[in-house]
Structure formats: structure tokens, C-alpha cells
Amino acid sequence: MTQPARPAEGAPGLLSSAGRVFDLSLGQMLWSRRSVFLGVLLGGPVLLASALRIAATLYASGLKINGVQAGGSAIFGMMIWLLYLRFIVPVLGVFYGTSLIADEVDDKTITYLFTRPIPRSAVLLGKYFAYLVCTVLLVLPSVMLVFFLVVPTGQGAIAGAFPSLVADLGMLAIGLAAYGAVFALVGTTLRRPLVLGLVFAFGWEPAVLLFPGYLKRLTVAYYLQALVRHEMPQDSAVSMLMQVFREVPTVSTSLLCLAVIVGLTLWLAGRAVEEREYVLEQ
């Protein structure tokens, strides 16, 4: 069994090593084919927002919900809930988080990183921060565009809704950090992280949120949803049930819990990377 490389005397510390890995990984992530695909995916909400804006401009009566003219802020809130919070943020977390180390293992390039005189956990940390910057750079412009396209419809005021946009951007960044850290742990500890990641994001989380009791506290969504200022949409029977059993923790509790989730999962992922022996397929 190979022993983890021990940093040599005078070798860079954890944070400076992570900084170097971050530099290397950010360029790779930003200009990769998958980022182009995710850019296209994030263009979906922008296209939808454009279509809604055109529809609102063409029809003088504007967009109506239950016969009542829908305000732009309400539609924007719905898009934040349904597209970003329930779909895009978890998907980005699963996609990038699980592949932080797994991609290097698949490409058989993990050896080059692990033979450098830096702590192994610095590789994970650097890549995690690169993921965070990359995804935030992809998601936030998309949200901004959707905001400016949708909010002015139905006599909505951009200035009035702007504080909520800032809160949304912060909430999405925190969500990306939390999901990314959780799935980084999954990616470092499991051989096939994707399926479990998808089970967690699209099986466990939506299911558990429907149950009363404490189980929902074992999800990221429970704490993240407490940070959303918009009203939860009633788009389906499941959403209505979710609304019934919805408990909202305080913002400070949610932030604290999310910080604990990020810290704990990153620490565990770092330990897993330090201790695990990655066997490369021949």
C-alpha cells in the first residue's frame, strides 16, 4: 500500500497549496466543454424569462395567475424556487462536486497531483474553491438577466425588488457552497458517486421534506429554503404538501447549520482524500 506523500521541509502549507491548485483548476473548469453545456443550461431560464417578457409586452393585460395580473417579482420568485433552488443548484453541486477528485481518477491524472509536495487535502480544497468561483460565475449572471427581464413585467419595480435579488444571489452562492461540499465528500469516498448524488438530490431531499418530524433536518434544502424570501409556489400537489409540513428555521440557525455542513463535509472529504488509496483502472 502506498503511503500518502509527506510534504517536504519548506513545502507550501495547506492554504497556499490550495491556492495553487485553485489557479490551475479554475482555468480548466471555466473553459471546459461541460461549462459550456452548463452555460447553455443556465441560458434556459434566461430564454424563458425573455419569452415571458415578450408575452407580457405583446398582451396589454400582462400575465395572469388565477385571473389576477401577476407581478414581475412574484414570477421571478417562482423561477428562483422552481428552476434555481430545486434544480440548477443541486445539479451543479452533484455535477462538479462529485467530479472534483473522480475526474482526476478517471483521467488517471491524480498521480501527478498527489506526487507534488503538498498535502493531498489541498488538492481537494483548491478544486472546491475553483468549483465555487466557476459555478457562481455561471449562475449569478443568469439570475441577474432573469431578474431584469422578468421583474419589470406586471408593473413591477426593479428598485423595490433589488434587495431581494441581492438576498437571492447570496442564498444561491451559499447553496452552491453547501451542495458542492456535500457532493465533494460523496465524490471522494465513493467509487460511483453520481448515482448516490442524484439519489440524495432528487430522491432523498424532496421526499424527506414531505414528512413531518426531524428527518428533513438531514437535508441541505431544509436550511437553504429558510433563506428564500419569496413565497413557495403551489405548482403541484407535492408542493402543496410541502407547504403544509413546512417548518422554517430562523435565518441565523440556517446559516449556522449550512456553515457546519460545509465545514464538516469538507473536513471529512479532506480526510478521505488523505487516507484513501485511489486505484487507477488499467
Binding site: R34, L82, F95, L198, P233, S236
Partner: protein
């Protein structure tokens, strides 16, 4: 060292019938997945709703107080609806790497250098996924029907709802074909099975989310054709003679499903190719 005759000698063995190469691929693929414990666990979990329904049928037939739990055609429709989440996970687990892993390992050229056509290769891979999907949709639903007959001790329910057997079969076939061809087409687009899995999740959940927003804005279900899950649900309701959930005409939903299958076929036709050596 004597040199023997080096002349050409014809192959003396038996020739395999053409068009059966896909069976080898399917058999090998099915065996590979059955050897994985995690996958067996997933299959076991996906049969959990079946056990719940079996208990429901048992209670309804044996306890007069639980007569309200008596199965109806809707029970079978709901059962297949509930299996959708397992269909998703099995599809990602089995299907994501079916062609992507071969492309990654440059195995496609090796496959196609054998007496195997591209169609046989694709069909062999498709059959692996379809077999496993049938294991979580068609098989439990049919077994549930048999369970109902055996618990009731008569054929009354079966005779009264004779359309259930073809309905289960047709709906499962439509669902399995749509899902399997879409996943196989996505798998042929990349060398990374992880990437393929995410692409598939994006196709399924993103279309659903977009429809969710449009429904929330318009409060009309006539745009449900955008979501592939909604299309499948609409066709399912037609096949099971249930009231339709969405305002979209069912032929439109059927066209969307057929369109997805055709597009997947075109992608597979373009992507699954060997290396052409030009002299």
C-alpha cells in the same frame, strides 16, 4: 524443423446465424450488472412499492374493514407512476456508461471489427437497459395483477378489467423504449458516464421545472408537452382509461415521445460508427 503445408484451409467450425450478435452483448451486460451488489440493492429497493401494494391487496381482500383499499385500474396506473423515480435511478446507473464507457476505452472499434453490425451493437446495448427497466416496471405490475388474482381466489377483477394486462404491457413498453433510447443516445455523446448521467437528469428534471414555471404563470396545463415526464403521464392515463391530467391533447404528447425516440435514433446512427480506414 519441417515446414508443413501453409496453404489456405477453410474454416471448419459452425457458422453462427447472422443477426444474433446482440444477444452476446446483452447477456454479458446483464451478467455484469447482476454481479454488482449496489445495483442489486437498488433493484430490491425499487420493488418496495410492490410489497406495499401487495399488502394493500391482501388487506382489501381479507379484511372487510379495509375494503376501501380494494384495487382498481387506477391502482395499477398509480403503481407504475410511483415506479418512475426508480426508472430514473436504474436508467442512470445502467445506461449512463453503456456506450460512453466503450467510447472511453476505444472499445467501439473492437466491437465493430467483429462480425457485428452497428444496429446489432446498439440493439444489444438497448436490450440491457430495457431488460432492467422492465424488471422495475412491467414485471412488478404484472406480478401485482397475479397477486390480486391469487389473494382474491377468483378471476372477477381480472375479467372485469381485462384491458389491464395489455395496458401494463403497452405503457411499460412505451416508457422503457423512450427512456432507454434517450439515455443510449446521450451515452453516445460523451466519453464520461458522469456527464451523461447529469445530462439525462437535466433533460428529465429541467423540462419538468420549465413546465412548472409555465404552469405557475399561466395556470394552464396545456403546455405540459414541454415536460417528458408529463407526456408519459398523459399517455399512461390514455392507455389505462383514466381521466387526463393535462389539457395537452394526447396525440401531441405521443408525438413528443415519438419525436424523442426518433431523434435518439438519429443521434445513435451518427455517433455509433467505427473508424473508417481510407487507403
Amino acid at each position: 524443423m519441417p515446414i508443413h503445408d501453409q496453404g489456405y484451409r477453410r474454416y471448419g467450425g459452425d457458422k453462427t446465424r447472422g443477426g444474433t450478435g446482440w444477444i452476446v452483448i446483452t447477456r454479458a451486460g446483464i451478467r455484469t450488472f447482476f454481479a454488482k451488489r449496489a445495483f442489486l440493492g437498488l433493484l430490491l429497493v425499487s420493488w418496495f412499492p410492490f410489497f406495499v401494494r401487495a399488502v394493500q391487496i391482501y388487506a382489501a381482500t381479507n379484511l372487510p374493514q379495509a375494503a376501501f383499499l380494494a384495487p382498481t385500474p387506477e391502482t395499477f396506473r398509480q403503481f407504475l407512476d410511483q415506479q418512475q423515480i426508480f426508472v430514473f435511478f436504474v436508467t442512470v446507473y445502467v445506461g449512463a456508461g453503456l456506450i460512453a464507457n466503450d467510447r472511453r476505452a476505444n472499445a467501439l472499434q473492437i466491437y465493430l471489427s467483429k462480425p457485428l453490425t452497428r444496429a446489432e451493437y446498439v440493439f444489444g446495448k438497448l436490450a440491457i437497459l430495457m431488460a432492467f427497466l422492465a424488471l422495475v416496471t412491467w414485471l412488478p405490475a404484472i406480478v401485482l395483477l397475479i397477486v390480486q388474482i391469487s389473494f382474491a381466489g377468483n378471476f372477477t377483477f381480472f375479467k372485469n378489467n381485462i384491458f389491464l394486462f395489455p395496458a401494463i404491457t403497452v405503457f411499460s413498453f412505451v416508457q422503457v423504449t423512450m427512456v432507454a433510447t434517450a439515455m443510449l443516445a446521450l451515452s453516445s455523446l460523451s466519453k464520461s458516464s458522469r456527464y451523461v448521467g447529469i445530462l439525462y437528469a437535466a433533460v428529465i428534471f429541467f423540462t419538468q421545472a420549465i413546465y412548472g414555471v409555465l404552469y405557475a404563470v399561466t395556470r394552464s396545463t396545456s403546455l405540459s408537452w414541454i415536460s417528458f415526464s408529463a407526456n408519459l403521464s398523459q399517455i399512461g392515463d390514455v392507455i389505462f382509461r383514466q381521466p387526463l391530467k393535462y389539457d395537452t391533447p394526447w396525440p401531441v404528447s405521443l408525438m413528443m415521445i415519438a419525436g424523442l425516440i426518433v431523434i435518439s435514433g438519429v443521434i445513435l446512427e451518427r455517433r455509433v460508427r467505427g473508424v473508417e480506414v481510407v487507403a
